[in-house]
């Protein structure tokens, strides 16, 4: 950009070369181009969410209690190994690939300690249905692409495919934690274990579990009409249990909160390590 302007100006000054004065003018012009060019380069193209804590839930898929649990897990990792893990859900990738977004976000926030570059980002973009584990330079050895890919394919995506985003994030974070703390074998074992057969039926069982008392309750209410005042109390149970067991898209997660206040990146950098997946 600056380049093209440069050349343009040079040709302009070429037309007007007539003495020292025009030379001075073109120098001034050049100087102003330098100054304006600096402004143009630093203009941001991607708008990143603010680093409000170790869990940045821009897409609002986590409940406050889930955020707290995740924050506790990753804070524990930093205490033990100084590795920084940040979980981020984004509303939109703004037209770039998740790989591109991940590197830039990691560098923008400076996740990981400076010099060690030991940061990991777990990025979930529910609207683009993409997930990525972005690994800082310094952790490419303990969390290589192949392991990150395995965690995504075998542990995170099965949950995501069922619509259980918090469950997948939880499983992924547990695995990343174990990998960083040197328990790679456990991660591999879990990833290679055949999926439990009960898994697909679990929401159904939960649903049935709550359906029976609910039907019973409704029928009992409609039977003796004089207790209709209890109806709202009975209805309240259903969204609570449904949201927790089957779907995870809770209505209550509509606000984000800053958990783990005072958290900031240590100045680590990223070089494109990690793996991605989509569901």
């Amino acid at each position: 950009m600056t380049d093209r302007y440069d050349r343009k100006l040079f040709s302009l000054s070429g037309f007007s070369v007539g003495g020292k004065r025009s030379l001075f003018c073109s120098l001034l012009l050049l100087l102003s181009v330098i100054l304006s060019g600096a402004g143009a380069v630093s203009a941001a193209e991607i708008k990143f969410p603010e680093l409000s804590g170790r869990v940045v839930d821009q897409a609002n898929i986590l409940s406050p209690s889930e955020e707290e649990q995740l924050t506790a897990i990753v804070a524990g990792v930093e205490q033990k190994s100084t590795d920084q893990i940040v979980i981020v859900t984004v509303g939109s990738l703004q037209g770039v690939t998740i790989e591109d977004y991940g590197v830039q976000l990691g560098r923008h926030w400076g996740i990981g300690q400076a010099g060690k570059d030991n940061g990991v980002l777990l990025i979930v973009a529910p609207n683009e249905r993409k997930v990525r584990i972005e690994v800082g330079y310094g952790l490419e050895g303990v969390l290589p692409d192949a392991l990150a890919g395995l965690i995504i394919q075998r542990r995170i995506l099965p949950f995501f495919k069922k619509g259980d985003l918090p469950g997948g994030i939880r499983a992924g974070v547990e695995d990343i934690k174990d990998a960083l703390l040197g328990q790679k074998e456990e991660v591999l074992l879990r990833a290679k274990k055949p999926e439990k057969q009960i898994d697909p039926y679990l929401p159904l069982i939960f649903f049935a579990f709550w359906l029976v008392p609910f039907v019973y309750f409704i029928s009992s209410v409609s039977r003796d009409r004089q207790v209709s005042g209890r109806v709202p109390g009975g209805v309240v149970i259903l969204p609570g249990s449904y949201g927790g067991a089957a779907d995870g898209w809770r209505g209550t997660g509509g606000f984000s909160r800053t958990s783990g206040g005072g958290f900031s990146g240590g100045g680590g950098s990223f070089g494109g390590g990690g793996a991605s997946g989509s569901w």
Partner: protein, 201 residues
């Protein structure tokens, strides 16, 4: 007499040192600093391409186990890799447009051949579901992504360096102190099969 000479020498050296420290404030070190940064970014680009080349033999072996009849694609990849690894890079590659174009062409040929190999692999369900292939594919994707990042970093570093050379006061410093510093070559967008991400730090 000797006292006068030595004191004069002292003042000259002190004056030089003072003026040097003042000069460093107005950008006399910018050209070498940015040049070194661009060179470091370039060696990272080379590293990542090298890493990709090292992955290929394993990948081919794995694909061969399931899709032995795809000889044409194997041959293409092997040849492209041989070309890429045997290419003697001249020392001045970053300032030599021809050598740089050559490097870029050969690497993008290898990218193309690899892309076809992966596309062919999609046709073999057994291969696609084999753990070994999945691992290699993840590694290859990771490496391609690192190449993209390294290229982007190099492009940015060269942009900063070239801008320094072309603009004031860098132009003056170049003509006065660093006449040997040349503009560096950068990857051209048109020959990119990798998407160049936008810049923001």
């Amino acid at each position: 007499m000797s006292f006068v000479v030595s004191s004069i020498r002292f003042f000259i050296i002190a004056g030089l040192l003072c003026s040097l420290s003042v000069l460093s404030g107005c950008g006399i070190n910018n050209i070498p600093t940015k040049e070194e940064q661009a060179k470091a970014a370039w060696s990272n680009v080379l590293n990542q391409y090298q890493r990709r080349a090292e992955l290929i033999p394993n990948l081919i072996e794995t694909v061969k186990g399931f899709a032995a009849q795809e000889e044409k694609v194997f041959k293409e990849v092997v040849e492209a890799r041989a070309k890429a690894t045997s290419l003697q890079l001249p020392k001045d590659i970053t300032t030599n447009p021809e050598a740089f174009q050559q490097f870029q062409k050969i690497q993008s040929q290898l990218s193309g051949a690899l892309g076809r190999l992966i596309a062919v692999s999609e046709r073999y369900p057994d291969l696609k579901s084999s753990q070994n292939f999945l691992t290699l594919q993840t590694q290859l994707e990771g490496t391609e992504n690192r190449i993209a990042v390294a290229r982007k970093d190099y492009i940015d570093a060269v942009k900063r360096y070239n801008t320094e050379l072309k603009t004031i006061p860098g132009r003056w410093w170049k003509s006065l102190v660093y006449p040997d510093s040349e503009l560096m070559e950068t990857f051209t967008v048109s020959e990119e099969n990798l998407k160049v991400p936008k810049v923001q730090f």
